[in-house]
Symmetry: C2
Subunit: 328 residues, 2 copies
Amino acid sequence: VSGAARERVLAAAAALKYRPNVVARDTRTGRTSTVGVVVADIGNPFFGRSTRAISDSAEAVGFKIVVVNTDEDIEAERAAIRLLLEQRVAGIIVAPASRNISDHLSEAQATAPVVLLDRRVRGLESDRVFAGNEAGARQAMRVLLEHGHRRIAYVSSAAGPRGAADVHNLDVDDLITSGGDRIRAYLECSEAAGVTDPRAYLALCPFGEDAAYEATAELLSRSPRPSAIFASDGVIALGVLRAIHDAGLRIPDDVSVVAGDEPSWSRITTPPLSTVVQPVHDLGTEAMDLLWKRLADPGRPWQDRVLPTRFVIRGSLSEAAASQEAPR
Amino acid sequence: VSGAARERVLAAAAALKYRPNVVARDTRTGRTSTVGVVVADIGNPFFGRSTRAISDSAEAVGFKIVVVNTDEDIEAERAAIRLLLEQRVAGIIVAPASRNISDHLSEAQATAPVVLLDRRVRGLESDRVFAGNEAGARQAMRVLLEHGHRRIAYVSSAAGPRGAADVHNLDVDDLITSGGDRIRAYLECSEAAGVTDPRAYLALCPFGEDAAYEATAELLSRSPRPSAIFASDGVIALGVLRAIHDAGLRIPDDVSVVAGDEPSWSRITTPPLSTVVQPVHDLGTEAMDLLWKRLADPGRPWQDRVLPTRFVIRGSLSEAAASQEAPR
DNA sequence: TTGTAAGCGTTATCAC
DNA sequence: GTGATAACGCTTACAA
């Protein structure tokens, strides 16, 4: 275009307040620059922070995001996927609610690339990003065991919105992978350390702080009570800490506490909370990166990215008191 | 349509995996069922939770949301608004980054309804939802003063991303309203209580926990140091508490602390944190409700919804020690 | 370099 | 009620 004409066109466009109609463009081209983000709850800092990272990476390559919440409900997830497909999103990043149900995701994968965030799904071919939760939990367990703890409780919401089933007949492989990986580490480490009934102190509760509170209160009412509690994540840890406090117990003297991810407040509790630090932000960044690469080359092999975790020991973890545990 | 034909069509649609093309529909109808949500940071629980509420209310009326982050940067906000307008969103819910800059929002308002969330903008006609931050802060200040505090510091990020200007020549009316309202309450209550230089202990820092930490550390190094600290919000409170701890001071014996909104962890610190509880979820719900009503009736008068706050006194607030304050 | 025409998958309109 | 046709605002291809 010649410089003069360009000027006049631009001027006219400005005068008429012209805005390119992306909707019409997308109709014509048959593709959009929208990425669907499907998470349990954008109000949960874990998903909030990873979504923020997705958004930043998406924006950098000219994409925007539409966010849908599922509350870990598989039907809500189905509806979300359908919605996004009807919107003709360029791709979908999803933290799936179920490890076993994949039909809707496989179907979506045929239309728009699906990237799994934080969790894996059985029988679904896709790019995936997740944290090394199992290694992180193993590390935490190792330290707890080294500190003499043998009655270590685990409180998690891994069972989904309906909450705990029969813990003893539960197949860990049916749980959402991020949670399941941690629980597997918990059980295997317990077993390897010679704990008699590793599932005795495993509590799976519905999601949320209050459910974790109840579950913890029950654990603490037992005799003997646990000498340490492993909280699966930051939200669960809120309930755990509150229950410990309300039971009149002290941390770490009466009970040690560790958490499976790092909440923003881990350093300001008394004592500070020991946590498995996950690269939450990177989870999102990598997910968008994988989606971008898939879009550029649909034929490339599926890729897993496992991001390392790091166990940070803080004051909430100490030696089990001699009175608490049988001598090793 | 006759029942038989209907059956066959539906069957064929399923067989061909037909998905209605929303993009084409929107081109044709000239409107979308998308709502733009513009916030500083979806990873911040305040915005995460209110966005969650927006999403729920939107979904209930068949809308979806596209989320854009601004980091309180006005240029990012401009770009976000432009993007959303080009997407032909049905409406925009925005927590604006500036109290004084309204041109892009006014322009948007001419095309798609704009609802202000948590903050107001000078010279912009629109529906607005915000919390009674001034009343909440006044209540907190009243209690602090009643407890004998006279050197009350205030730590806030209200100055935006670039951080604090000259606090003494700052016009509170230029600050983002939610923060500014609190600061106004702080200053007026201080003044009414006969505090000599109400701005002496006012610290405006760039946004984020670390900046709040630095600002607090500086405040605590003064002589005399403040006997109480008012943290504008949950993120700031994290930095404040950490700085107090690192300075070797005890709460509330050495310093009382209150926060201007309620973080998830307010009840699990030692002692628990006194906070002004804001109806964060309702903020989002009401914003979407206003947008929905505006869409239904574009001619209706602009509406403000002010949601009440509630000051909750917890252990982090106590009497100022006699040694800390001159007798009243 | 500029202009013209076709077509994306819908919805809306207008005959039938 | 049913079926054909135009139009939404853009991109792309091709002709002038």
